[in-house]
Symmetry: C2
């Protein structure tokens, strides 16, 4: 591709003519003091024609009261966005209610499409398209970023990623739509009401990944209600009968399998409606932080950094693995200190029995819960640092290694003490008390650290900002410049990882020892109801708007939850087998007791696997729709081949 000589002025004038249509979608913040030549080159590449290797987007500097601040607004023409929608493979609904991959040539067949309907693509979709186009803006012959010789480029390297890693580009973020956000807030958490969340609206505004998290959170809360309802009488009437506990545990185990299987179906329904179930996977580019010496990628045949897989394996097995083991050991060490504390509190209580001393009994658990939370958070940073140091080429591989590290540690850190109490100390009373304290404390801490604290900080910051600008306007009245300046200071939402992790640990508290503490489900339900509100608040008011990320499922978390439910079968069977009530049923032979429990456990596990196998992952109508689409594409291919064959055979 030969780059035609093109004057800067030309593209800017092109922009000027369409400025009336310019709708700012994405904000680019460059570092203060970025060289002029760099800015010129970068903006030129953004507005350049596709044929010349540009992104063909629109860009406009933001002029504020303080003057020019190296902040740019990016938009795109309607036509450009439609072509971008085809490039990212968006799936939209057609006039015949089927979901199809959008192509510009077949645009007339799509529902609500009209050449002048600029709402055919949602704002989140437009922003996703612009992000995709910006990230795919690639170096041609440039050897470096103009003005920054140390920021090397090679043909095919994503310019934006290089700018980000060399610190020239501070951030790229999508703008909020104040009107839309207000509407969404109102229907989401604006009034206290019983009902479902507006998932489709959330998806339109925040994208599929976040909507799916809220969908899962809501589903999970509803799914816990039967367990909570059944659990309440156990507490109220202080039931301790053997058969009732067994029934509760059995119900729990089967129920947890059912809800995880049913979630897959609901997830398929949601993502089919949103189009992401049908979306083709894009080829995965190296993640931004990946570095290495220039070499030939055997898959793409392109020159790009390569990093030996052996070196990475060495780093994983010789550094990361020992480090994780060390952390696990440390966590166990802290646990032993907790038990010393517990013992000390018990001794104290026995010596001077008073209201204060019986309250003191709870103190070690509360301290331990706080320490666990702190350790989890510190470990999280260490895990991120280590995984990033392992230098994974793909984001997916990075994520898998990070999730594995974090899950193993968090699982041990949170549940080791409970396992120890249950299966080494055999102290059911302490187990119940410990479980309750850990669960409730961690819930309170999480709610506080995750949403309320950032909200309060944000609020304070906003007030200060407003005082500075001396304006008394409400949010929706803000000028664009004020809005951008406010949003660029907001925190960045780091993805759904922590939110899922919290649910995962909660699921562990509820299911692992469910037969000992049936009330856990009640607390989980209560927590999740407020969690929906505080997470919604967090998304709408605390953080910058995140880019929409299309996704078809909750990924590795499905596996994590399923693994937890398998482990909980084992723990619950053991707990029931150890209870004195069950013991009393086998007065003669402990052997028979253990064998019976082992048999029931295997039976439950077998039922679980058979159920997971038998319940189809997608509802029948979604299966039919997918089959229909597949049939059509095969039919089209066949027709094409038939035509070709008929032509070739016409001697």
């Amino acid at each position: 591709m030969v780059q035609k000589p093109q004057k800067m002025a030309e593209s800017w004038s092109f922009l000027d003519t369409v400025e009336s249509n310019f709708r700012p979608l994405v904000v680019i913040e460059l570092a203060k003091g970025t060289k002029e030549e760099t800015i010129e080159w970068f903006t030129k590449r953004i507005v350049d024609k596709k044929a010349d290797g540009g992104a063909q987007l629109l860009i406009k500097p933001l002029v504020t009261a303080n003057g020019h601040e190296n902040i740019y607004l990016v938009g795109a023409s309607h036509l450009r966005l439609l072509l971008g929608a085809e490039a990212v493979g968006l799936v939209k609904e057609c006039n015949d209610n089927s979901m199809r991959t959008f192509t510009y040539s077949s645009r007339k067949t799509f529902k609500d499409f009209a050449d002048d309907n600029h709402n055919f693509l949602t704002m989140a979709e437009c922003q996703y398209i612009i992000k995709h186009e910006l990230e795919n803006l690639r170096a041609k012959n440039e050897k470096m970023i103009p003005g920054y010789p140390q920021a090397k480029l090679y043909p095919g390297k994503s310019i934006v990623r290089r700018l980000l890693t060399s610190g020239i580009l501070v951030q790229i973020f999508p703008l909020h739509d104040r009107e839309e956000l207000k509407k969404l807030r109102h229907s989401w958490y604006g009034r206290v009401r019983v009902g479902y969340q507006p998932l489709d609206d959330i998806r339109c505004y925040f994208g599929e990944t976040i909507a799916l998290y809220f969908g899962f959170l809501e589903y999970f809360t509803f799914a816990l209600i039967p367990m909570a309802v059944i659990g309440i009488p156990y507490y109220v009437f202080a039931w301790e009968d053997y058969d009732k506990y067994v029934m509760f545990a059995t119900f729990n185990l089967l129920w947890s399998t059912v809800i995880l299987e049913v979630w897959k179906r609901i997830c398929a329904i949601l993502t089919y409606r949103w189009g992401t179930l049908l979306m083709k996977r894009q080829f995965e580019e190296p993640r931004p932080g990946f570095h290495g010496v220039l070499g030939i990628n055997p898959v793409t045949g392109r020159e790009e950094p390569v990093y030996s897989s052996i070196k990475r394996q060495l780093r994983i097995y010789l550094v990361s693995l020992p480090f994780v083991c060390l952390c696990l050991y440390f966590s166990l060490y802290v646990m032993m200190i907790y038990f010393d504390l517990e013992q000390w509190a018990l001794d104290y209580h026995n010596e001077n029995e008073s209201n204060f001393s019986s309250l003191m009994l709870y103190v070690p658990s509360i301290i331990y819960a706080v320490v666990i939370e702190i350790m989890n958070r510190i470990y999280r940073y260490a895990a991120e640092f280590l995984t990033s140091w392992e230098n994974h080429r793909l984001e997916s591989s990075y994520q898998n290694h990070l999730i594995l590290k974090v899950l193993v540690f968090n699982f041990l850190n949170c549940f080791a003490s409970l396992f120890y109490i249950a299966f080494v100390l055999f102290d059911m009373k302490l187990l119940r008390q410990s479980l309750a304290t850990l669960l409730i404390t961690s819930q309170i801490l999480n709610q506080f650290a995750e949403s309320l604290l950032p909200y309060w900080l944000q609020k304070r910051h906003n007030k200060r900002m407003k005082k500075l600008t001396c304006s008394q306007k409400t949010d929706t009245d803000l000028s664009l410049a004020e809005q951008v300046n406010m949003e660029k200071e907001m925190g960045t939402y780091l993805g759904t990882f922590d939110d899922y992790l919290e649910l995962f640990l909660q699921f562990g508290y509820v299911s692992l020892f469910s037969c000992v503490y049936p009330l856990a489900a009640v607390f989980a339900v209560l927590n999740n109801i407020t969690e929906i509100y505080s997470d919604a608040l967090k998304m709408c008011r605390v953080y910058k708007r995140p880019f929409a990320e299309p996704t078809a499922n909750i990924g590795v978390w499905q596996l994590a939850f399923e693994t937890m439910s398998v482990i909980s079968v084992v723990t619950n069977c053991m707990l029931i087998g150890m209870s004195p009530q069950v013991d009393a049923l086998f007065p003669d032979s402990k052997m028979d007791l253990v064998l019976t429990v082992a048999f029931i456990e295997h039976l439950l596990l077998a039922i679980k696997f058979i159920m997971a196998f038998v319940i189809p992952d997608k509802p029948r109508d979604i299966q039919m729709k997918l089959a229909k689409l597949e049939f059509e594409s095969l039919e089209a291919l066949k027709q094409q081949q038939m035509k070709l064959a008929a032509e070739s055979l016409k001697e």
Copy 2:
């Protein structure tokens, strides 16, 4: 599509001109006394141009000494076969050693392609293409098969399938290539030698499904050798030490996981080389036996027979399921009779101790083994009948239901007595004896019934045929007519189902009770070595040549083997826990024993699942090759979209 009026003569004369190139590939046998008008219509449809809805193949009646016998030979021009290869989506090797889907337009880029090289497609591939084209020969406006008003047709119905179900078409089978077969036989089992089978040659001649079976059989045999080698000293030195048995069982369990995981990788290597790993799944048509009232298929939108899913469910749950349960009950009943017999033999032996009486001890087991085999075979027919009566629309669904029925029954039928002896009678001596007798008897019976008996029958038949034709020629000298006449009388190979089932049961004998009878692996290895030879003999000399079936893996059998290996963890742990040597290690507390065994069992299961998760299903180089292909296709799509976008944006 308007059908052009075309005289019969034209197409036949077209055939005459190319007759010198005519290579018979597939034989069609019509019923004796088929009406002339039907034959004329059918052959015309076969030779008709693609554009007129025909198959555009070549067809020639076979004229034998006895005159015209309604047998036709089908072939195709080289060009027709190449276009057919594109239609079925064959994947071939390119000049740059990558595997790609063959298209006629890119034919020059494929390895060994030349316009005059008629060996570019193997004979098996040509025959598969012809089968595909014949099966896809569909009715246009015909309401019935001409001459047979009861054989209804509707637009889009496969003509060949209707002809088959109405008995007009007796059979379609591919011709053997005597020269090739002789070469294959020689390299396969012609001389006694140590080494691998010529899998690539087998695949070229018989297709991927059969080659993959032989590949699995060979792999499985090699994989059993370590177990056999370790098992021999246990027998020779009569080791009965606890630690040695535990070691053997542990090795067995981990080994069986490893071999099943490694098989997936080897399977990927094989099918990548053969091109089937990359082959796109074709849209599945209704199976031949499916019937129903005409309706609209919601997926294809075509008019075709539909059958209510509720009716099918009713048949499955109200008839098939009770029937299977009844059969299971009957099988258990027979088992109880066997135990009576066993008891009687033991009593007899105790009363009159002699050589004869100690031989008599084995008789009940042998009788029982024979009865098991007979019951398995009878049940097989019943299961086929029932599953066919359930009227599944798709062949895959039919196969899954059939396999499930057969597996459950065979598992119980073969192993129930062993489970009973092991875990109810606790008689390890009887278990070992029973296991040995069952394994060896069933192996002998299988080898006899599967290969030697049909071979002998075939040999006798051939001799008689030769006497009738008074010819003394060897196989390769036979005229085409003689060859066709001989082959059409041969039995039809019914697929790999029985062969895999046999291996599956053998795997059960070897692994379920491996710690009791380490010699089982030795017998399995010996059996499998002869099995390779007898199965090869069966394929080459006993049965008609089967049509090649492309496949990318061994399908549901992988799951079946994995399930068996999970079950064997449980049984082995129980057996070891019950052994007196282990018992002696825990003199004080049986409780500790059981808990230890349960703990080890869970640990082994966890290791199994982690291993299955960690070992990648495809070797790294195959993953890279697949990624490369995916990248290329995405890149091509992007280029296409870029071009379109550049055009659309050029105002």
